[in-house]
């Protein structure tokens, strides 16, 4: 009798201890964000508590055919060891989703002695329990060689291990779900940032009636379509509309590249056929195999009301005369990016379109192939009908009305992009109360320049900036200051961002806004810690610190734009316009 009471008491105490251990571990699991550390400490406690010589926690890898040891306790370090998931005693435990005591391994045919051979350890008895949540298998915990007593694990040990394992399994599942959510959020934010960058590549809509207007509506966050237009020195306007094959982030990147290239090369190459040929060379050279871009590019002369265009495999531009007659211009050449050799020496074929009071429209195929709300395709006819009924609206409103009829709810088929050129913009539309204000107010003058991050190239940047500021009539007394601080900011990027001369780029944008001069510098180096950008004391004149001092002296605002998703550091500096 006496012995039974002792046993009972002992059993009760043991139970209480077990529950406490369970509760502790449960709390740890709920609290910790670092699942690996938590599992290690949990395994150690379980192994100690159950009095085993060693223990190991295995996790099933992706395809559930391999068990990898995540952590272990005891003499033999087998972390990282992999086993086949159907192998050995632990494999059996996982497959059958059931705990097991193997009192003497020499009696069990499933026992795999090869691990012992490698580690020099001798396994005599095994206790194991699966890590699973309902039917979802995650892995297993295995304890080896009970210390003391008869060296055998008992049923109480097994029960306790099973309960602890369930708790651990739940914790692992939770941690995995949490990290998947974080990944999804990250991807979402990267796409949003890419979309923002793409939007910034689209030209700003000029205030007031202007011969050209465009509209871009991506189907998903990022677009494979784009359009652009910008004025040349002589008042002619360079324009384009393009469509990248494919969808998603690859298409978006090729879109950004093509749009930037068009703008960059188009400033000096004013022959559309040649410009497209150069674009074609660049894209053939560097684009992912199999991707291509259809593009219409051209120059519009508002004085002669004529557009000269070249068409690389794109939807035919559509001309509408003031009398309501239509004409379309089929492409005679393939898209950009197919091959260089198939384009004739003097470039893509060009042709002139006289507008004479009429208008010209460029579309992506998301417009003509778009579905109406009733399910029919809009088609070329549909576009013409809309243009007919909205002929007396302003250009921008006309473009919006074409798009408005398309069904954009639900799963959108394609990006929608449309660009219009109107040779009589000032006669149309309710703008400024129809006071007949003149067309073509200039867009914000803007310099976009890029240099490889090399000391030898700073001179080019200085010249480009100086020339731009002189061209736009920026206050002469301040021009050298601005040139200096852009040089200094670039030096900081070279020195601190790239760690010396590098083939990576520095992008420079200077815009003369009404409120003042806005300068943006982008580099692709590691993130900058703004707190570390402090000007030095003059006693400690070193090139880097002095440069920052200059920047702070001359500019009114300096700061980094928030950096997200790996698109580089963007430094923004503003010099406010002074009241005269």
């Amino acid at each position: 009798m006496h012995g039974d009471t002792q046993l009972e008491t002992a059993g009760g105490e043991r139970l209480a201890e077990s529950l406490e251990l369970l509760a502790d571990m449960g709390r740890d699991f709920a609290r910790s964000l670092d699942i690996e550390v938590t599992l290690q400490s949990a395994l150690t406690r379980i192994t100690d508590y159950l009095g085993a010589e060693g223990g190991a926690l295995f996790l099933l890898e992706a395809d559930e055919t391999i068990l990898t040891c995540q952590c272990c306790v005891g003499a033999a370090n087998i972390t990282g060891l992999t086993l086949r998931a159907d192998h050995g005693i632990i494999g059996r435990c996982v497959q059958e989703n059931a705990g097991d005591i193997v009192r003497d391994v020499t009696d069990d045919a499933s026992f795999d002695g090869s691990v012992d051979t490698k580690t020099g350890f001798t396994t005599r008895s095994i206790l194991c329990a699966p890590l699973s949540v309902k039917e979802e298998r995650i892995g297993a915990i295995e304890l080896i060689n009970k210390n003391g007593g008869d060296g055998l694990f008992d049923d109480n040990d097994l029960t306790l291990l099973q309960v602890l394992s369930s708790s651990a399994a739940l914790a692992i599942l939770n941690a995995r779900m949490a990290s998947e959510l974080v990944e999804q959020e990250k991807t979402k934010r990267e796409l949003e940032l890419a979309a923002e960058i793409q939007r910034s590549l689209l030209p700003a809509e000029p205030p007031g009636p202007y011969p050209i207007s465009g509209l871009n509506i991506p189907a998903r966050t990022v677009s494979g379509d784009f359009y652009d237009f910008f004025e040349l020195d002589d008042g002619r306007i360079s324009f384009c509309l393009g469509d990248v094959s494919g969808k998603g982030i690859n298409a978006a990147m090729l879109m950004a590249k093509t749009a930037s290239l068009y703008r960059c090369l188009g400033k000096t190459e004013t022959r559309p056929g040649k410009l497209l040929a150069r674009l074609n060379e660049e894209i053939c050279d560097t684009a992912t195999r199999g991707m291509f871009v259809t593009l219409v590019g051209g120059i519009y002369d508002p004085k002669s009301m004529t557009a000269r265009i070249a068409n690389a495999g794109h939807e035919p531009p559509l001309k509408r005369t003031p009398e309501g007659l239509y004409e379309s211009f089929e492409a005679e050449a393939p898209p950009l990016g197919i091959a260089v050799a198939i384009i004739p020496e003097d470039g893509y074929p060009e042709f002139d379109i006289r507008l004479d009071g009429g208008a010209l429209y460029l579309f992506s195929d998301g417009v003509t192939e778009g579905k109406l709300v009733n399910g029919d395709a809009l088609g070329a006819d549909g576009v013409r009908k809309i243009l007919d009924s909205n002929a007396d609206m302003s250009l921008a409103k006309r473009l919006q009305s074409v798009v408005a009829g398309l069904d954009r709810g639900g799963d959108l088929h394609d990006d929608i992009t449309i660009l219009g050129i109107d040779s009589r913009p000032e006669e149309l539309g309710a703008h400024q109360g129809g006071d007949g204000s003149r067309a073509a107010k200039p867009i914000v003058p803007r310099l976009e320049y890029a240099i490889p991050a090399r000391a030898a190239r700073l001179r080019d940047a200085r010249h480009a900036v100086r020339r731009f500021l002189e061209d736009v009539g920026y206050d002469g007394t301040h021009v050298p200051d601005i040139v200096l601080i852009i040089d200094e900011a670039c030096q900081n990027i070279i020195r601190h961002g790239y760690g010396g001369d590098s083939d990576q780029w520095i992008e420079i944008a200077v815009a003369l806004e009404v409120t003042g001069l806005v300068i943006l510098l982008r580099d692709f180096a590691d993130p900058v810690d703004e707190a570390e950008i402090e000007p030095r004391d003059l006693d400690d004149v070193r090139p880097g610190g002095l440069g920052v001092h200059f920047m702070r002296e001359i500019m009114d605002e300096i700061g980094y734009l928030p950096r997200e998703g790996g698109y580089g550091n963007i430094l923004r500096m503003v010099k406010r316009a002074t009241e005269n």
Partner: protein, 110 residues
């Protein structure tokens, strides 16, 4: 950046011309330090300097400090308005000895 070095009455006159920027300031630094190291007073003729940045200014400062440490003279002459602006921005206009010309410097005893 180009430079020339000549002797004038026992002092060294270093003429600098062109942009003294990140690319060329290391060589300006080497040249100036070497001249200062010879133990003679150095006059830096900046008439031909079209641009200077913080790295160029730092080269001047280093040579100036070296001359001070060695007890020899270091003077800037013929500094243009633009270059002066940068030196003023660096608050070094009261630190350097600056004169319009070599004769003016000598007259002032520098």
């Amino acid at each position: 950046m180009e430079h020339s070095i000549r002797d004038d009455g026992g002092a060294t006159v270093v003429e600098l011309a062109g942009d003294v920027d990140l690319e060329s300031s290391p060589s300006a630094r080497t040249i100036l330090l070497e001249c200062v190291g010879n133990g003679k007073s150095v006059y830096v003729d900046m008439a031909g300097v079209t641009y200077i940045d913080s790295s160029g200014v730092a080269s001047l400062v280093e040579s100036f400090q070296s001359a001070r440490a060695g007890g020899t003279g270091f003077t800037l002459i013929a500094v243009s308005e633009e270059v002066m602006r940068v030196i003023q921005l660096a608050r070094l206009d009261k630190i350097f000895t600056i004169h319009d010309s070599l004769s003016a410097a000598r007259q002032a005893g520098d």
